[in-house]
Structure formats: structure tokens, C-alpha cells
Symmetry: D3
Subunit: 240 residues, 6 copies
């Protein structure tokens, strides 16, 4: 199968990390193509940037459909514009938070999410509520590092994530850790080794979910929430 | 006080209706200015269109702040891009769904929302859950008419809305009706007269809420969910 | 418009504080009249005292309707006898907790309530659940000072409130503070100044809500939860 | 043991029915004394009447403690003033709704409540939420007959109740029926016989619960929610 | 009445403790017979052992029905196989967790459960959710002692339980303590004396609940959740 | 990878159907071995039969671990003994309900479950609550056909399922259908074709989930809910 992975920001560097992550555990027959948005913010760390990432994401979704990909992944932990993408797409679109949360819930009773920047906590909490698994969420913990700095300062990033994860296990009852940012994607296995419990990177989870659902021959339901929008006039937006 | 009302689509006609609604019950000292998005869809009837309305809305929010408005209203019942707008704004931003739902909950134990297009039902349900008052929501009922056609075909619009409202009262226990679309804004009082219970138009609710909160000298909390985004590089987006 | 503010206890001193609070931010055209219950407890700090405040409150509600007030506020944070008052009243009746909680939820994602006396915590928790916004409530914190002593010992009152508020912000994620007692009504703005986030006094919130809803020409729904009681024989109760 | 049953209204006739119900299934060693409120409404069918029943109920609670009863029951399905009574009482106080709901939940997965007057539905729904077993409540159904008329018109009362119960079983999945009014107390066994599932009268449930808890030597927790109120000045209320 | 108490493990020693507990507060006319499972694990401290206790429990339930007991109690805090037992039984079957949780909720606003072994916490949390009273549960606290060791090391058991109970009261707002293990059954009154709040042993709660419901002449609802299974072929299982 | 599929009943015929289903969409490199329980009921259609299926299931789980399978699936829609199996297993164990519910939630906003026998409805409702996605469940519909008869009477089975599915779509808002019985496993694609929305068979969902998680190199979390039980004495149970 062919999966298009859309990095919804315009950082080529982050796109490369996501591409590596997406390919790491893909099935032999799975072709992964990773693209970044052509327009929009360099990273998404607020609702404001998420909104402004929308046009860039949807362009890539439409292209992915034209190029006959079998599935599309939006590789940012807020699952930005997932409903919009699913409406405009004929092929399944996956969010990395949704995929990670479902997968985590098969591996332990409670999961914790370790993500970046305290200011994003309300958004992550709303996302978990929307997905519907708040009863299985032990805690959401934020580490105060900007996504684009996680590579530069990898040691202190790992150290801070490990400290949060250990607290989540000890105090909140976490049995599975979800890394809540597409910029942390390479840290799953090193952390898993030290913690002794599953550590999930949402990009991989989404690739494996896409393969699983494709393997079963399933498509998205297009009758209601993800129904194709009627043709409509757009003013001043290229491509639309 | 000065309130900027942003019609987040590019339909001047809908903008005019919103402007009339917003001014109808404004306090004498309240100056209302209504603008439409310069770019984006002609109406918002899907998550897809909501996403593509984002840039146009945020431009208007930023302008509203530059022009020293005291409050800003996003006049579409999905409260599109409300969190993003609140982050980028120094002055309070209000959604018409949120305002209507809070106001309704002071006037009866259960409210029902009558909105347009069955396909939007999941989005409205998610919105009520996010606002947090699902326990007070008797039902959400959708009438199968496109927003832009409500004026053309006003008689059948009213008839369909009244039928839904009466069912909501009789079968679901609704005590207050919320009109779930900025295109239905003039129908509140005629329906209220016939039904004998409060019928709320969210545009008016938001104006009155903005005045109330301004009158108390309150500002938004800017420390977490609505914290100002850090400066960031944007690629290919004018204004940002 | 004319608003009757009912202090549901018999403390004239607390009534004066409430009157000042209610008038502070009222619109120019709003006439505020504050009365205390003629019979009942000197303050309400238990369900027991709340029950015994009932008759006094309802007498004032009935008088308020006879004297053609446009709205009535019950100025105690438990919103005592609010449903009863709404049933017997033709004009809208507002609780200060309900009004503050709705207003807070427009200004931040999570609010905390700082109130008095640990023994009241279950009642406040039940109230928030009943209003329906428990998902937006970061925490309820109680300071161990009796309502009637808050004036005598204002310094230690403020100190204790500030400490609780700071903990609510830091540990619980509070973005807005609600002062959960009609005896704390003057402390909103001093605390707001220091904390840098909105601090809401319910009395003001209720006045502004009453004005907003009156300005929209809305009445309460009288068809079900707040339906007028049938005439009925009462034994041994004056006025009823 | 000695149980005081308080009919919180002033209807001697309803008091007699409650007394019979309370004694029907009491243990041989249980002495039941039933009293009506001396002051207050003739029946409680609104929040307004509930409020005005408060003083009469609390007088009886205080008397019950002075006369060394071992437990007290408030025999009205809204559990009116239960928290207040528990605060002022040293001995356990039981509500008939609470007792019936807990007992029902041991006998089937889902229960339905059949009560009187549509206008009371919001109050019953709030009560079930407050007790916390809304997840076990299949439905709440209201029959449009006033409590004081149930005796006069017993045939049509039974017919209406049976119809509601059968619908609750068939459509809502009810496995246990709770009669939601102290005026229906004699109908449990006749209905049970016809329906073939448990039909619970709350008065009996409360008596049996009181005996069970007394038999275990348990008292109420008096440290927080039901903590004894501090002495306080009351204005214009006899007895307090 | 005659109650069969089934210790669902094969520890005769634990069976004896349960028997003493069950008889302690039984009514004079109540005959208690306690039996242990003939086959199965020596104690139940995991879902694995719970599953393997199933056959032994059901044998005893079937025997209890043949021997015309009036009610049956499964005396293990996980309420193991309660639904199965209720389906195969004509007479009511009670779980000790369910009984304790309902009884606790009549005595205080919030209860805490003190049980054994951290690994069981998810199971207890799921049980409280299933029973439906999670909103009344202040906390679940686990003490790291194996059930079979509680007698050997009674001093350190009591000390650890008291410490957990005090923390539950102080930090979590517990007003009632439930002892979450049939091996702790004798510690209720000693702990109650020291803590000054009700401490409930589920075995006693179930006996008192069984007596209460029997005294009202009630049976289980057998129409849906607890409907008798159809006859079916079993392979390789004695007794079935 | 090698997956052991355990049919938890003793019906070889149902085992064959499950085996076919499990192999239908498996990856080329996946070896599927399906076994039935050696002891236990011929089908599981009650909690009673579920309990008695326990020993047979756990034997197969233990064998599966000894024989070095990479994952194990329990192929019955109640996910019977899933926690127990996970505790005793080193390799991941999957339930078919859990897998189907997570997969469905990626393909539409709301799913409905169509299962067999009205008496099982409470169990399925409890299961959905336990999994945590009740907010995404549009409805649970039961068709009154015994599992072992679905093959004999395939036409009327399909007809009844299709009718339920169409009602779920039209009245409840279902966008995805889950077939809630391992005996319905071959009907997914025929129904999908007619309904035009995804129809999921849990057996396939579990196989695809097992492959996905194996492909990512993940194991279960063994630190708390699924921690390995301590060695313990069992009386009278072979194998344990």
C-alpha cells in the first residue's frame, strides 16, 4: 500500500524526522511518502498556529487523493484538521494522537501522554475527551521545551521526558507512555528500554493502524461526520 | 464599548443579516461593526470549510485588536477558530454557540439546538461536549436546508424549524430553543412568540455577553489556554 | 431596568456589602435594590441554614414580583432555593454561582472556586455538577474563615484567599478564579490585580447577566422545571 | 429499634398511608412512629413547596433526636432537605429515593422511576444525578396525576402506572420499577405481581435500610458534609 | 431467613474469618452458613485467580439454590462472578463491594476504599465504575500486603490501613471508609473507634442488605441481565 | 508472526468459522492457528457460560505462551477473561470487541453494535463503558437469534441484522457497524456492500491489531493491571 504522511508544518527538518519514524516499522510492502505543508507555520504549538496550518494540510490531503495514495496520516499530535481532511478525502485519514491512544489502550489499563509546552495542556485534554478515552488517561504531562529545540538539546529533552514518565508511572498509575509530539519520534525505543513499559510514538501507531485497516479492505464512513462537502465558492484562496 | 462582529465566511448577504441581529439588542453605548472574512468559503457547513475559513477569521481578529475594539465576536454557530482567536487577541473573543448555551442554561433546565444540515450534527454534538453542558442539552435537531437558502425560502425554513422545535419540546423536554446558525438570526422572536418559550439567537447572546463582561471590566485569562503565541516564521501566508 | 438583589440571610452588614457590589458595575440605567431576608439565619454556612433561609427568600421573591422588578438575584454562592424562586417568579431569577461559573467559562478553559469553610465543599461540588460544568472546574478550595468574620479580619482573609488562588493556578491549572461567597465581594479587583487573571465576584456576574438577558428581551421558560406551582393549602406559614 | 418517619407535608391522610407502608415490612423489634410536618404545604409537588416544607421537616428531625429515635426517614421521593436533616441530626437520616435507588441497583442492572407530574421530571433527574446512579437509570416516567388524587382515583392511577411501567420495561430496558412518590406506597406488590419484576416503594426501602445500618451499629459520618452546624442567630423563626 | 455465604477461594482459614464476620451482626432469626469453594485458588488477588475461582463459586451457588437458602453472598471484594451467579440463581445474590458501596453512600457524601495490593487497583476502579458510584468515591488506596498474610501480621496491617485511611480523610475528603478485602473483616470496629467515622466491612454490609431485601419480600429481576441461561451442553466440566 | 486464536467455547463448528475469518485478511507472513477450548460451554451467551468458559480459555492462553506464539486473540465478543489472560500471558492478548471498537472509531464518529440475544445487552453496554468509548457508541442492538443457529438460518439472520443496521444508521446516527458475535464473522463484507458503510468483524480487527502492534515491536505493559500473578496453590483444578 502507499501512505502519504503529511507533516502539517513547514519545517523540513521535522519532516525528515517524521519520515524516518514512519518508515521504521512499516510493512515491507508499504511505500511511505512524507511531505511538509507548503504554506503555514514552522511548527504547531498553539491553536493559532494550528488554524494557520489548515490550508497547507488540506492541499496535501487533496493531492494525496489525486495521487491515489491508499491512506494519509497527519503527523502532528493535535490531530489538526482531521475532520476536515476526512471530509475532503476518499481514502482514510489518520491522526497520530488518535492512533496512539487506541493502541495504548490495548496494551495497558491507563496511559499517560508526555507532550511539550504547558500552554498546550488544555488542547491535549480536549483532544482526549473528544477521542473519548479520558477514563483511560492517567495524566497529561507537559515538558517546557519547544518542539523545534528537541533535536538541538536532545539530552535535556530525554532527561525531562524520562522524569515526567517516571512520575506518571509512580503517581498517576500510567502503564503505557504516549509521546505527544511528532518531534519526539525517535525517543520511543530508548525510553521503552529504560522504563520497562510500552512507549508509543504516534507516527508509527498511525502507520501501523493505516496498514491494519487497509489490510482489512476498509474505507472511512462517508455518510455523515466525514461526508464530502458540497461544491462551494471560495474567495481568495488558491487551490480551493 | 466597541464590538467587532466577524462573519467568518465571505457572504456579504449573511454578513448583513448578522449585522442587523447584532445591533438589534445592543446597548445604546455599544458600537457594532460587522465585517466578513476577505478570504474563505461563502458559507461554513463542514469541517472542511471551517478549516479554510481560519485565515480569514484570524486576519479580522488581528485587525480588530489593532483598531482597539473592546471585544470581538465570531458569528458562526460552530464557534470556528475560537481558541486560536483568543490566543492572538488581547481583548475578549466570544463564540455565538458558547454564549447562547450559557444564556439558555440560565433560563431553563434543558435546551435544544435547532441547526441546519444533518451532516453537521456530529460537530455540534462535539461542540456541546467541549463547552461542557451536554447534561443540559435535551437534543440537537438538524433541518435539511443550506444556510444560504434560508432567506430565499423563508417560509419553509420557519415551518421546518417550528416543527423541530415542537418535537424538541414535546419529546425531548426542551425548555429553551437555541437557533444553531447565524443565518437564522431574525427568526428568534417570531418563533418565541409562537412557542411560548425563550428562543435564542447566538449573535445577540454574544453581543449581550460581551457587554456584560466588558461592563464588569474583565479581560480574558492569558496565562494558559489563551496565552499569546510566541513569534514564529510562517511560510507563504500573507499577513502572518 | 430594576433588579432586586436578595441577600438570603438576615445580616444587614452582609446585605450592605452585597448592595455595594451589585451597584459597582451596574449599567447607568439599572436600578438596584438590595434587601435582606426578614426571617432566617444570620449567615448561610450549612445545608441546615440554607433550608431555614427558604421562607425568607421566597417572601422576597414574591414581593419582588409584586413590585414589578425586572429581575431578581439571590446573592449567596450556594444559589439557595433558586429553582423554587424561579417557579414562583414571573421574572428571571439568577444565582450568583451559576452566573459566575458561566461567565468564567467564557474567559478561560478552567476556573477554580475559592470559598469558605471546608464543610461546604461537598455542597459546592454538588452545585458545580448540577450546573453541569464540572469538566471546566480545575478545583474547589476552601479557606477556613466564617463568612461573618471576613470583614473583621480582612488581612488574613485576603492572605488565605491569595494563597489558595496561587495554588489553584499552579497545581490545578486554574485560569480564572471565582470568589465563592457573597461576603468576599469587594476582593475581586485587588486580587485580580495581583494574580493577573480574572477574579469574579458572583454578585456582579449575576447583575451583568440579568442586564444582558433583560436587554435581549428574554424571560424564563415557564413550561416545565420552572412552571408556576398550582395553588395549594399551606398550614402555619405566614405569607403563604 | 425506633424509627421516626417524617411525612414532610401536612396531609394527615398521606401520613396515614406512609405509616401503613412503613410498618408493613418492619422487623418485629422495630417501632415505627410516623408524624406529619406541623407547618408547610399539603403536598410537595414543586421546588417551591419543597422549600416551604423545610422548617416543618427540620422541627421534626430535631424532635426525633430529642426523643432518642435511632433513625429518621424523610418520606417524600425528592428526599427534601436530606442534607440539612443529616447535619442537624445525630442519628442517621434516610431519604426514600436514595434508599430505593440503592436497593433497586442490587436487584437488576437498570431501574426506571415512575413518578407523578411531568413538571417534577427535572427535579427527579437532578436527584438521580446527585445520588450518582444515572448510569443505572433506564428512564424516568411521569404520570400526570396529583399526589393527593391518587387515592380518590386509584383505578386510573394504577392503570397509568402500569402502562408507564410496561413501556419502561419494553422500550427502556427497565428490570426494576421504583414508585417515585410516597402517595403510591400501597401499589408495589399488586404491580409486582402483574409485572413479574421487583417494584419498590421507597418508604419500605428506607425502613429496611435503616434497620440494616442500625443492625450493623453504624452512625452517619459527621466530619464534613453532615457536620453539625455551629450555633447561629436566627431571626423570626420559631423553634430555631 | 437462611443466608449462604460463599467464600470464593479455597482457604478454610479465610472462610472462618468470613463466617465470624457474617454472623457478628446478623439478625436473631438469620441463619448463616459459610462455605468455601471446593476447587480454585487459595486466595483471589488477580483477575487470573478470579477467573479460576469461577467454577467453584457457581457450584456453591447452585447448591445454595438446591438447599433452599433465601439469599447468597459472594464474600470477596471484587464481587467475582456476581452476574453469572445471579443468572443461575433463583434467590438474590449479593456482592460485598456492591453492598458496602451502597451502604457507605447513605452515611456520607464520599467514601474511600482501602484494599490490598497495588496490582488490584485497576480492577477496583473498574468495579466502582461498573457499580456506578465513581462520583461518590473519594479515592481507592492499596496497602501492599497479601490477603493471606493479614492475620499473621495484624499489627502492621492495621498500621498500614490506618495510615491510608487518615490520608484518605485528610487529602481526598473521605467521610466513610470501606475495607476492600474479605480478609480484613474484623478490623472495622477497631478502626471506626480510632477514626471517628464509619468503617464498613462488606461481608456485614451484604448480610444486612440481604436481610433488608428479604424482609421486604423482594426477589431479583430475572427478565434481562440476570435471566436464567438456556440449557446448554458443557464439555469436560463436572457439575455442569 | 504467529497468532493463536482461541475460540473460548467448545463448538468446533464455530471454531472453523473463526479460523476462516481470522485467516481471510491476515498478512502473508502471519501464521494463524485457531483452537477451541477443550472444556466449557458449547457457546457463550450468558455471564454464567462466560464464567464456565474461563478455565478452558486460560489453558489455551498458557499453551499459547509455551508454544511461543507472538500474540493471542480471544474470539468472543464479550472479550471473556481478557484481563486474566493478559496477566498470565507474556505476549499480547487481544479481545475482538476492544479491537473492533477502536478500529471503528477511526472510521466514523459513531458506531453501532449489532449483536445477538436481548439478554446480553447489559453485558455489552458494560463492556463498552469499560473500554471507555460509550460516547462514540450510537446504539447497541440485539437480534433474537442464538449464536449456534446463525449458520442454519443464514437468510433470516442476515435479514434481521440488516434491518437492525438500517435502523441504527437512520435513527441513532451510526456511521460504522460492528458485528457483535464471533458467529457472524462472514457477514461483514456482504453487509458492507449493501449498507455502504464499514461493517467490522471483530475477529479480523483483532488479527489486524495484533499484526500492527507486533509490527511496531510492542509488548503489553506488565507492571500493574496485567502484572503476572504470584505463584499460588490451586485446589482441584487440573493444569493450575
Amino acid at each position: 500500500m502507499r501512505i502519504l504522511v503529511v507533516n502539517p508544518n513547514t519545517s523540513e527538518e521535522m519532516g525528515k524526522g517524521i519520515d524516518i519514524a514512519a518508515k521504521r516499522y512499516a510493512n515491507p510492502g508499504t511505500e511511505i511518502v512524507t511531505v511538509c505543508s507548503r504554506i503555514g507555520p514552522l511548527s504547531i504549538e498553539s491553536a493559532y498556529e494550528e488554524t494557520l496550518a489548515g490550508q497547507g494540510v488540506l492541499e496535501r490531503i487533496i493531492e494525496g487523493n489525486k495521487k491515489k495514495f491508499d491512506a494519509i496520516i497527519i503527523a502532528c499530535f493535535d490531530d489538526p484538521h482531521l475532520s476536515a481532511a476526512r471530509q475532503i478525502s476518499e481514502v482514510p485519514v489518520y491522526g497520530i494522537a488518535e492512533s496512539a491512544i487506541y493502541m495504548a489502550s490495548s496494551l495497558g489499563y491507563k496511559f499517560s501522554i508526555i507532550s511539550l509546552l504547558e500552554r498546550m495542556l488544555p488542547a491535549v485534554e480536549e483532544l482526549v475527551n473528544k477521542i473519548g478515552l479520558n477514563s483511560r488517561c492517567a495524566s497529561i504531562k507537559m515538558v517546557e521545551i519547544a518542539a523545534l529545540n528537541t533535536k538541538n538539546d536532545q539530552n535535556s529533552t530525554i532527561k525531562a521526558l524520562m522524569e515526567s514518565a517516571r512520575m506518571a508511572i509512580k503517581e498517576d498509575g500510567a502503564e503505557v507512555i504516549i509521546l505527544g509530539c511528532a518531534g519526539l519520534t525517535s525517543l520511543d525505543k530508548p525510553m521503552e528500554k529504560e522504563l520497562g513499559i510500552p512507549v508509543l510514538d504516534g507516527v508509527v501507531c498511525a502507520v501501523k493502524t493505516a496498514e491494519a485497516i487497509f489490510g482489512y479492505g476498509l474505507k472511512m464512513s462517508k455518510i455523515k461526520a466525514f461526508k464530502k462537502p458540497e461544491p462551494k465558492k471560495f474567495v481568495g484562496l488558491h487551490y480551493f
